[in-house]
Subunit: 230 residues, 2 copies
DNA sequence: GCCACGACATGACAATAGTCAAGTTCATGC
DNA sequence: GCATGAACTTGACTATTGTCATGTCGTGGC
């Protein structure tokens, strides 16, 4: 059974936050709450979806194995984020696999429950679409980055997304392994290392999983500049 | 007003094909039917979505402009395909722009109509989710290609998707400009040219917009082989 | 028919990223 | 404490791709 703290996190997720209290209670009380160890599989590509997943703690990566065995990281989720909405409601196989990349707490909402509630109140469909749209948007943004930016620029954007303040300097912690960051940004770990050292010229220092950005505006200029201008 | 032939195409779209006849009739009779010339804009990034779009004839590209002015093609749609579902139902701005890349016929379903119908019958929400999921899936597949395959391999997959038969040889027409194919595959036109000439060694001949594939199985092997093995 | 322009092909070169190998650091188990 | 192994960094080299320049080929306008 779930702690109140976990329920509070679930309530804040994009999927649930705009639903009527009463429905949220129903969903939370029928949900399955599970802990995953680092490296543990949550579901596999081609498996049939039976639930929608909400991350309560830790980090989960979605990835795809190509026929050759190399893996492509599609997205990385953390506290308060949900995934699998569009798949769960249609009884189709997952297009990706999901794996815990740190110890995780994940809530699973059985899809039949969500479906039956949706037939009662169409507003739930809108909530699901909202969450799905945000995934769609994230994928589009990622595609644009891959097609229009160099590796170092993608790293710069990644760091900027970790910053809270939008000017001056700031210090951030890298949220997960550099290997995973590299995968998420579509490059090899070696290239990520080199991208980091290239960013030294625009005021970025990396030490372990700690990053110091001395000039956020300058870094943003770098990220958005034309690759051919450098 | 629409020809019956156009309505028939719309009925076959993923968005509408599984809906009850009665709802489809309502939607079709309130839809807006428009013709677009090559190069004409259908909507712009950041514009607020007011409709869902169904392509009846021609080709439409969705693309994103990066801050530097370079464009990244996100997807290309043709007869029977719909786009903008998840955006239209949420009153959020489009994350992409849409442009006709050939003379086009496009049907627009006003989103308030779709929303009100959805509140009557939640099944419509499922249909919209189905269409949205297929876009999500396509983006994930594209991401995987970009991250795990070389340019020539992406071109090989593109050609394979145009083939109907799955063994032996086949001949296909390239559906649109090579410039657009290049954009869709995340490369420059020059790189596409070179990818084509590289594919000569696996039995692919390109002449104008006509492609001859002498060995579909061999080409598939090539597309799925490890990039480092060549 | 001729011209102009855009799409496309190709060569030379530069920039970028992947590969392979060697070495460092750090967390873990014993 | 020490050994082990995984994550990470760095260097040298290669492969791939982008850039720029040039040339060809067709299509559409006149």
């Amino acid at each position: 059974m779930a702690h109140e703290a976990q329920k509070a996190i679930a309530r804040q997720s994009l999927l649930l936050k705009s639903l009527p209290e009463q429905h949220v209670d129903t969903l939370l009380s029928h949900a399955i709450w599970r802990r995953y160890d680092r490296g543990e599989t949550i579901f596999l590509q081609e498996e049939e979806a039976k639930a929608v997943h909400v991350v309560l703690a830790g980090w989960v990566k979605l990835f795809r194995m190509s026929p050759t065995g190399s893996e492509a990281v599609v997205s990385v989720f953390t506290r308060g984020e949900s995934f699998g909405e569009a798949v769960a409601l249609r009884n189709v196989p997952y297009p990706v696999s999901a794996e815990a990349v740190s110890p995780c707490e994940v809530m699973h909402i059985p899809s039949p429950l969500l479906l039956s509630l949706m037939r009662e109140d169409p507003e739930i469909g809108v909530s699901i679409l909202a969450a799905t749209f945000s995934h769609l948007h994230a994928l589009v943004a990622q595609l644009e980055q891959l097609k229009a930016q160099t590796g170092a620029q993608r790293v710069a954007e990644f760091l900027l997304n970790l910053c809270v303040n939008d000017k001056g300097g700031c210090e951030v912690e890298l949220p997960y392994d550099k290997m995973l960051i590299a995968g998420r940004l579509g490059m090899k770990p070696e290239s990520l290392s080199r991208a980091f050292s290239r960013l030294k010229t625009v005021g970025v220092r990396i030490n372990r999983n700690h990053a110091v950005i001395s000039d956020v505006v300058g870094l943003r200029d770098y990220a958005e500049s034309d690759p051919s201008e450098k």
